[in-house]
């Protein structure tokens, strides 16, 4: 399905939940709505689903105006954070319920479809049980199977994995990606986690404080955030941002450091205009190479995720976080030197607009 939002706006009393936005979702692909809590993800989804009527603007489904058409009259599947199932129905009946409601299927066809979905989501052994007899992960699998059973052309998922343990989240996210890849529905998936957006791939719409900031292929948005706000929303750990000034040969940073860079000139800027340098945690290394800027400092904390170590370092340009692959142990307060290749930084202008992004090593495949 092609879903198009035109001039959508949502106000509740004096509060603005969504500022005017236009968005044409790429049909039959996954679009991730990425943003912090309160960014407007749920408000936008509710408008897409027809659960809420927008204060202004139009929702077009395959060219047809469905603004304000209640969700019951539209074929939309939704999955929420909470595991919502019919508590008194068995798992099998839960999955079958949308098919029965439609009344267009024979009992045998429904049974086949339920078995198929249960197999896909690994819940076959539980078909005769009640949802309350299942673990959280299994309950959410049932809710997902029921949503998939609808075979709705539009599927909306609002942080469906947030209440699960992280290993379970990893497993289900992979299964979902495989299911979405079949290309039968246009899928919208809301999350607060940048890594989840990257793992899902597809397209990403970045939301912040009720504003749609950027929409495009997920990897493109990550590699070329149009503004500091996008960079902030789409980085985990947060992108290191350092205030500097435009200089003849690049950017000057606090404490007399400077980055040699070719910057595009901005017509309205004065000489020595403010520049913000963005450094992804992963561009900072502990082994130096030719042409690197070195940043001596001391370790504030090393957070270990298992696959990576995030080292918080106090340096002359402020506190920065470096992402080192693998497990590294540092004593608090111990000296460390971080290295950075000047070509790996982002530079933002006075209005927060992107001026320079690191060159990409690879073409981006969106498939």
């Amino acid at each position: 399905m092609e879903l198009m939002l035109k001039g959508i706006e949502q106000r509740v009393g004096a509060q603005v939940h969504l500022y005017p936005l236009d968005l044409r979702l790429v049909p039959l692909a996954v679009t991730v709505l990425l943003g912090a809590t309160q960014a407007g993800k749920t408000s936008l989804m509710r408008v897409m689903a027809g659960l809420d009527k927008p204060s202004a603007g139009q929702v077009l489904a395959d060219g047809q105006d469905v603004t304000g058409v209640p969700v019951r009259q539209r074929n939309v599947a939704m999955v929420y954070q909470q595991f919502i199932n019919y508590p008194s129905m068995t798992v099998a009946d839960n999955i079958a319920s949308p098919l029965r409601l439609r009344g267009a299927h024979t009992a045998a066809a429904i049974e086949t479809r339920v078995a198929e979905l249960a197999a896909k989501l690994h819940i076959e052994p539980f078909l005769k049980r009640l949802p309350s007899e299942l673990s959280g992960g299994q309950q959410q699998r049932v809710a997902l199977a029921r949503a998939l059973a609808k075979q709705a052309p539009l599927m909306l998922l609002d942080e469906p994995l947030v209440n699960l343990d992280y290993k379970l989240r990893e497993e289900l996210r992979e299964e979902l990606s495989a299911l979405f890849a079949s290309g039968e529905s246009t899928v919208v998936y809301a999350t607060t986690e940048p890594t989840e957006a990257l793992l899902l791939g597809g397209y990403t719409a970045v939301l912040d404080a009720g504003e749609l900031l950027q929409y495009g292929p997920t990897a493109d948005v990550f590699h070329r955030p149009q503004s500091i706000r996008v960079a902030r929303a789409f980085s985990d750990p947060p992108m290191n941002l350092v205030e500097g000034r435009a200089a003849a040969n690049g950017v000057s940073l606090p404490s007399g450091l400077s980055l040699a860079l070719r910057l595009p000139s901005v017509a309205t800027d004065s000489a020595a205009a403010a520049r913000t340098v963005g450094i992804r945690a992963s561009s900072l290394r502990v082994q130096g190479r030719d042409g690197d800027l070195s940043l001596p400092g001391s370790v504030e904390l090393a957070e270990i995720s298992g696959s990576d170590t995030f080292v918080h370092v106090d340096t002359a340009i402020g506190e920065v976080v470096a992402q080192l692959p693998g497990v590294h142990v540092f004593t608090l307060g111990s000296p460390i030197t971080l290295y950075l290749n000047p070509t790996q930084v982002f530079v933002f202008g006075e209005r927060g607009e992107l001026l320079v992004a690191p060159p990409e090593a690879h073409s981006v495949d969106v498939s």
Binding site: D165, A281, I304, L332
Partner: protein, 362 residues
């Protein structure tokens, strides 16, 4: 501060027979005096049961435990002299921050000047010196939880401080600051700390030793590096790291080992004499190799994901014989193979682990 020794098991029902009957399988271990420990595992793994046994909220059905050699199996939490911090703030809303922090000391009749000194010290460690005279009721959730942490840490004479998922209510971007605080505090106060969590970042960051648990069993006790480099059990290999360790079925052969349909030279002599075993290699240590390079197997790329700071490439190896998926974490600085391409992936190296029946053997 105490050294805590355990030699016990726990079942909630009578006459446990099978492993599944136990909430906590027989466990013998020691929490050293002044150490920082984390109990890590998914829900239902037995970590909270273990914590409750240490605190005295649960009496083990078999065996017992001692604090500094003194049997405390039947003692209450008060008698054991421990402090606890829970998921949600447990504080008095009508009291000020200072009064809240002082409460555990006042209760024990500590002299006023000593209380003042200690409260000041703990408040400073938690960056709450400026809030001491504020009423707790008006504070945000994370500030309230900081008071809870402070109350847990304020007494110097406790045997141990136990934490049950204490950062659950803290906003994600504030969590690292509190993790740092806890680490600094441990460094300064030298308390025995035991910390329950299902979050691997929290466990690996905070603790000197992490106890990884699954299905009532402590499968490995080790440092973050040990858990990452030498997982003693396949559960640990999978649970630590994201994505977790790759596992491939393998078996010994006359002059080497067989894995993913290839015959490779035995990386360790003992392996060729084995029957079936499992080869484990982390995605971080799988690298692209030249065709027929020793220790490498061919595979067809099924997925190539740009995770922003690196690429995650999934390949199907052992096609036609024993297909399984192998993940490699590759640096963005190299040429990334495309879906459908055949690649050679090195899986045998110094970081490769070998398992029989889920347990590390080499």
């Amino acid at each position: 501060m105490a050294r805590i020794e355990l030699d016990l098991a726990h079942a909630y029902g009578p006459n446990p027979q099978r492993d599944e009957d136990y909430a906590l399988l027989p466990l013998k271990m020691t929490f050293e005096d002044g150490g920082a420990y984390a109990l890590l595992g998914p829900s239902g793994c037995g970590k909270t049961t273990l914590l409750n046994i240490v605190s005295g909220l649960v009496t083990p059905s078999q065996g017992g435990l001692s604090y500094d050699g003194r049997d405390v199996t039947r003692l209450t939490p008060q008698q054991r002299n421990i402090a606890q911090v829970f998921q949600f703030p447990v504080i008095y809303d009508t009291m000020t921050v200072a009064e809240n922090l002082a409460f555990p000391l006042r209760n024990r009749g500590v002299p006023a000047d000593r209380i003042k000194q200690r409260v000041g010290q703990v408040a400073e460690m938690l960056d709450m010196s400026g809030q001491l005279n504020l009423r707790a009721a008006g504070l945000a959730a994370d500030a309230k939880q900081k008071i809870s942490l402070g109350r847990g840490l304020v007494r110097e004479d406790v045997s141990a401080v136990l934490f049950d998922e204490p950062l659950t209510v803290i906003d994600p971007h504030l969590k690292w600051q509190l993790r740092r605080k806890l680490k600094q505090i441990h460094h300064e106060l030298k308390l025995t700390l035991i910390y329950v969590t299902h979050d691997q970042v929290e466990a690996l960051t905070f603790a000197q030793q992490v106890v990884v648990m699954t299905r009532g069993k402590a499968v490995q006790i080790g440092t973050a590096s040990e858990l990452f480099e030498r997982p003693r059990h396949t559960f640990v290999g999978n649970f630590i790291g994201s994505p977790g360790m790759n596992f491939l079925a393998a078996c010994g052969a006359a002059d080497g080992i067989e894995v993913a349909g290839r015959r490779l030279a035995a990386p360790k002599a003992a392996l060729s004499g084995l029957g079936a075993f499992t080869l484990g290699v982390r995605p971080e240590y799988v690298r692209l190799a030249a065709p027929n390079e020793p220790g490498a197997v061919p595979g067809v790329v099924t997925q190539a994901q740009d995770i922003g700071t690196y690429w995650l490439v999934t390949a199907s190896v052992g096609e036609g014989v024993d297909p399984s998926l192998l993940r490699a974490r590759l640096s963005s600085e190299q040429t990334i193979p495309r879906v459908g391409e055949t690649v050679w992936l090195s899986i045998v190296g110094e970081h490769t682990c070998y398992y029989v029946d889920e347990d590390l053997i080499a």
